[in-house]
Amino acid sequence: MGLNTEVETLKKVPLFKGIEAAKLKLLAFISDRLFFTQGEHLCDQGETGDAAYIILDGTADVLVDTPDGPVKVADFTVNDIVGEIAILCDVPRTATIVAATDLEALAISKDNFLKLLREFPDVSLEVMRELGQRLDRMNKELTLLKS
């Protein structure tokens, strides 16, 4: 349950994949390991996000409000990262995340993440590279869809 297992999980998150282990350990250390009981909300649609969650154990449902009530659109499980956009910029949550089972997650708060980026420019570069690749992929998918 120590930092090392959390680091192993972080390594599997695409956004952090280029970051060296020592920095990931620091990131894990300054994050909070949170426990959620089944049915508890990790975040609510519409509220301003201030943390990203990485699921360490358990599964979560993604619900989106519709005129007929919340509808499940996806689910998250171990090693998935939830709401990572929130730690990069101020945007309202686009969905409600509910713990489908008892769940453990690592919460990376925006403040702490930005502190890490400020302190280690090479970490910022890695994150930027990953975001760039993501953008590239999305562009390609868009072109495919259009054609």
Partner: protein
């Protein structure tokens, strides 16, 4: 006030001074005989003949006669000193009483200053004048008459005695007096001038210091400490120069005196010796003269000292009084007159300004020819920006500024001549920056109804003494221990009702929740009554049971359970299951506690904590290996500071290279301190295995048992069945910590506490505790908004007929609440708003638009708003 010190002394201590003078007179014959007797002893008893002698109806041999005279001398010495003792004590008493009167008078004058005066005089100047500067006056006043009379008289007695022995010796003794009499006043005059300058300089120093204390935020924010230090250095240098010049002259005076005093014996030996040899003067007489002259030096020195002191003190008195004896003081009657029905009812009448003008000290503080009337029950707004005269007019309507010309009447009576007892009861004024006094919120709220004591306390042992002394010194007969709250004025009968009313108003202004939170965060009083204790414990157990039934909630709180490890708490709390009884001791410091250290040694668990400490240090050092001293991440960590990181790096290096056994005692203590601060759930360093946690829990009972009954008082144990004295009310209700590893646990706990206290009826108690919240020096702990709200509640609590609120409505979201509350509390009473813009004061009967000290437009809001 009396212009000169002597007028003051004469006016208030005439009788005492005369008594002092009479006691002094009594001492002179005694003194004369203490001089005469030694002569008799030498001439008559030692070298006398014709013994035995008959005296007092008995026959006396030479030895007996000598002893008789010697014991008579001893008796006289005793009586002489007894008289001196009585004189000194009485002198001190007179001085102290006069000093008390003087300070009281000066302070009272400060209370009578008109407001503009305080723009020119700061508290930094006023305070030393009333406190330290008058101090020497007290000592002097006791001496004023008695000392010159006593010392002068003594001098005279000695001189007369010397002259009686031989006129020539007498002349020799006084030859140099005229010389001294000429030179010394000249030197003294210069000293006086310098002293006056010194007093002014010292006053400026205290003013500067006062300013720095108040403006400390600005100093830190602007890095101006060096500038302030340089400024003070300059003042201190001036002080040094003056003082140096003063004591050079003082010692010159002393030098001249001493020299002349020692020159005179030269004449005694030469002239006196010659006369004794010739047989014109007896040897005994010369001895007595020499003795008398030696004593002469004392009174002469005292007299000179008195003369110097007198000059110094006179200057001081004048320098002080000129600051308080100013022409535009309010008359004494303004604060001392009791309210009459006639005047009180006049305050319910129409307010009328007739060509009122006012001139302040700077631009934008004037009013020119304001003619205006406000009917009782009307709500009006004075509308105008800064410099429009709005603030001045509002203050004037509250009786705080006096018109330069024109008349301001209320119910036909001139407001200027109205005593404060009437204005204060009927008018409530809330200025742009209301003053909050040091103390509790409750005492700040009650401030508005503390006009006169409504009872005299009987339980005070020294009340009669205090009353007599107060009367003798012209002080107020009111005692502070009396009940001052005029419940009637607030429309209630008991203090409890008053609190209820206050809480009601606080809720209305939206401060209720703040007060409630303050209450939750506050600690219990030491003598908490049993009923509340039981209620707390009941609520605590109920909360525990409720929470246990709900898994979602129960996992949000880490309760204090005797045989369970609490991962959110620190290891120190987990081991001791207590906090230090001294609530200023932080957790890491507990490792330095003697009892804790003894326990760690004797129980053999010292090694365990050193190991944990080393492991923690290892982990942190590894995590921060790439980080320089100034890391934002490191700063947010509460285990180690950047400086400590360096220190622990060295310690860990030593521990690894030489083994933990090689560590010095103090080095292991550093590791224990680190281990004590560790909270496993928050720090997640993985250094605490379940076995170690279990081991720590198993030591709890042993620690408790290791303490004697007496030593247990140094700790506050976590006991489910007792209120913890250093926990806040909230912590006591929860009896656990919001878990660090749960989202929203803080909020959940806050809600739980709030619900449970409502349920068991503790809310009122918590509000009361909130009222006891200490607001810090002049309310420094409160926000500006909170201060304004407290000022509003304070104003409404006394149920005024006229409410004047300047700049209270500022266009914030809270205005509506304020408005609604005032409308309700001041129904059918006069309300005067001072606002920046017309739209800030809706629902007014009338608006008066002000510009450059004039009312440029008046009328109903709808008419005015249309034209604007």
């Amino acid at each position: 006030m009396e212009k000169s010190l002597f007028q003051f002394v004469w006016r208030y201590s005439r009788t005492q001074q005369i008594i002092l003078f009479l006691i002094t007179l009594l001492s002179f014959p005694i003194l004369y005989y203490t001089l005469e007797l030694p002569k008799l002893i030498v001439n008559d008893a030692i070298s006398g003949k014709n013994f035995p002698r008959s005296l007092l109806g008995a026959e006396w041999g030479q030895i007996d006669y000598l002893l008789l005279l010697c014991f008579s001398f001893l008796g006289l010495v005793v009586i002489n000193n007894a008289v001196k003792y009585v004189l000194n004590v009485y002198r001190g008493l007179v001085g102290e009483r006069m000093l008390r009167r003087l300070r009281y008078d000066l302070y009272k004058r400060v209370l009578l200053f008109r407001l503009p005066r305080f723009r020119k005089m700061s508290s930094g100047e006023i305070i030393p004048m009333i406190t330290s500067e008058v101090e020497p006056l007290g000592g002097f006043i006791g001496d004023a008459v008695a000392l010159p009379a006593f010392q002068g008289g003594q001098l005279l007695v000695y001189l007369v005695f010397i002259f009686v022995q031989d006129p020539l010796l007498g002349v020799a003794a006084i030859t140099f007096y005229p010389v001294q009499g000429y030179i010394i006043p000249k030197l003294q005059k210069r000293v006086n001038m310098l002293n006056k300058e010194r007093v002014r300089n010292v006053r400026r120093i205290s003013d500067r210091i006062g300013e720095s204390v108040q403006g400390i935020t600005e100093i830190h924010a602007n890095d101006t400490a060096q500038w302030h230090l340089a400024e003070l250095t300059d003042r201190l240098h001036a002080n040094f120069t003056i003082r140096f010049a003063v004591f050079r002259r003082k010692f010159m005076i002393k030098f001249i005196n001493n020299f002349i005093n020692q020159l005179t014996p030269f004449f005694f030996y030469s002239i006196g010796g010659y006369l004794v040899i010739k047989g014109d003067v007896s040897f005994g007489a010369l001895v007595a003269v020499l003795a008398a002259y030696k004593d002469l030096a004392g009174p002469w020195k005292e007299l000179l000292g008195y003369y110097q002191n007198q000059a110094d003190v006179r200057i001081k008195y004048e320098a002080i009084v000129e600051n308080f004896d100013i022409p535009d003081l309010y008359p004494d009657t303004r604060i001392s007159t009791e309210p009459t029905e006639d005047l009180l009812s006049a305050m319910a009448g129409q307010m009328k300004l007739d060509h009122v003008t006012y001139v302040g000290d700077s631009a934008g503080q004037e009013l020119s020819a304001i003619t205006l009337s406000i009917d009782p029950g009307e709500t009006v707004a004075l509308v105008g920006g800064d410099g429009s005269g709005r603030t001045e007019l509002a203050a004037m309507l509250a009786g705080l500024l006096s018109p330069k010309s024109g008349r301001l009447t209320v119910g036909g009576k001139n407001l200027e001549e109205m005593p404060e007892s009437v204005i204060g009861q009927k008018v409530a004024y809330i200025g742009p920056s209301p003053q909050i006094f040091s103390g509790t919120i409750r005492s700040n709220l009650r401030y508005s109804i503390r006009n006169r004591p409504i009872s005299t306390p009987e339980a005070l042992d020294d009340l009669a003494d205090r009353m007599r002394e107060a009367e003798l010194t012209g002080n107020t007969p009111y005692v502070i221990e009396a009940i001052w709250e005029n419940y009637q004025a607030a429309g209630v009968a008991t203090p409890e009702e008053l609190d209820t009313r206050a809480v009601e108003l606080l809720n209305h202004v939206g401060l209720g929740d703040d007060i409630y939170q303050m209450g939750l965060r506050s600690r219990f009083p030491e003598n908490l009554d049993e009923k509340t204790q039981n209620a707390i414990l009941m609520a605590r157990n109920k909360l525990f049971d409720d929470v246990q039934a709900n898994r979602n909630l129960s996992s949000k709180i880490a309760f204090w359970i005797r045989d369970a490890f609490n991962p959110t708490a620190t290891l120190a709390e987990n081991l001791l299951f207590a906090t230090s009884a001294d609530r200023h001791t932080e957790v890491g410091m507990l490792s330095e506690n003697d009892h804790v250290r003894a326990f760690l040694n004797q129980s053999g668990c010292r090694k365990l904590f050193v190991e944990i400490g080393i492991a923690v240090a290892d982990a942190i050092i590894e995590l921060f290996s790439d980080i320089d001293g100034d890391s934002a991440i490191l700063e947010s960590l509460d285990l180690m500071t950047a400086t400590e990181l360096v220190e622990y790096r060295n310690l860990v290096a030593k521990a690894h290279s030489q083994g933990a056994e090689a560590l010095e005692r103090w080095e292991t203590r550093r590791f224990i301190a680190l281990a004590f601060r560790l909270s496993p759930a928050r720090h997640r360093l993985g250094v605490l295995s379940d076995e170690r946690a279990a081991q720590i829990v198993s030591l709890r009972e042993a620690f408790r048992r290791s303490l004697s009954e007496e030593d247990r008082k140094d700790f506050a144990f976590f006991d489910r069945d007792a209120v913890h004295p250093y926990f806040s009310i909230s912590e006591n209700l929860v009896f656990g910590l919001p878990r660090a590893d749960r989202r929203g646990s803080q909020e959940a706990v806050a809600r739980l506490v709030s619900d449970i206290s409502e349920e068991v009826g503790l809310t009122a108690y918590i509000m009361q505790a909130g009222l006891d919240f200490d607001v810090g020096v002049m309310g420094s702990v409160l926000s500006v908004g909170q201060r304004r709200k407290i000022a509003l509640v304070r104003a409404l609590l006394k149920q005024p007929t006229i409410l004047i609120a300047d700049d209270l409505l500022q266009g914030t979201s809270e205005d509506q609440v304020t408005h609604a509350l005032v409308e309700q509390a001041m129904a059918n009473k006069t309300v005067i708003w001072g606002v920046n813009r017309p739209d800030l004061a809706p629902n007014c009967d009338k608006l008066h638009i002000m510009q450059s000290g004039r009312i440029v437009q008046s009328g109903a809001p709808q008419d005015i708003l249309e034209t604007v």
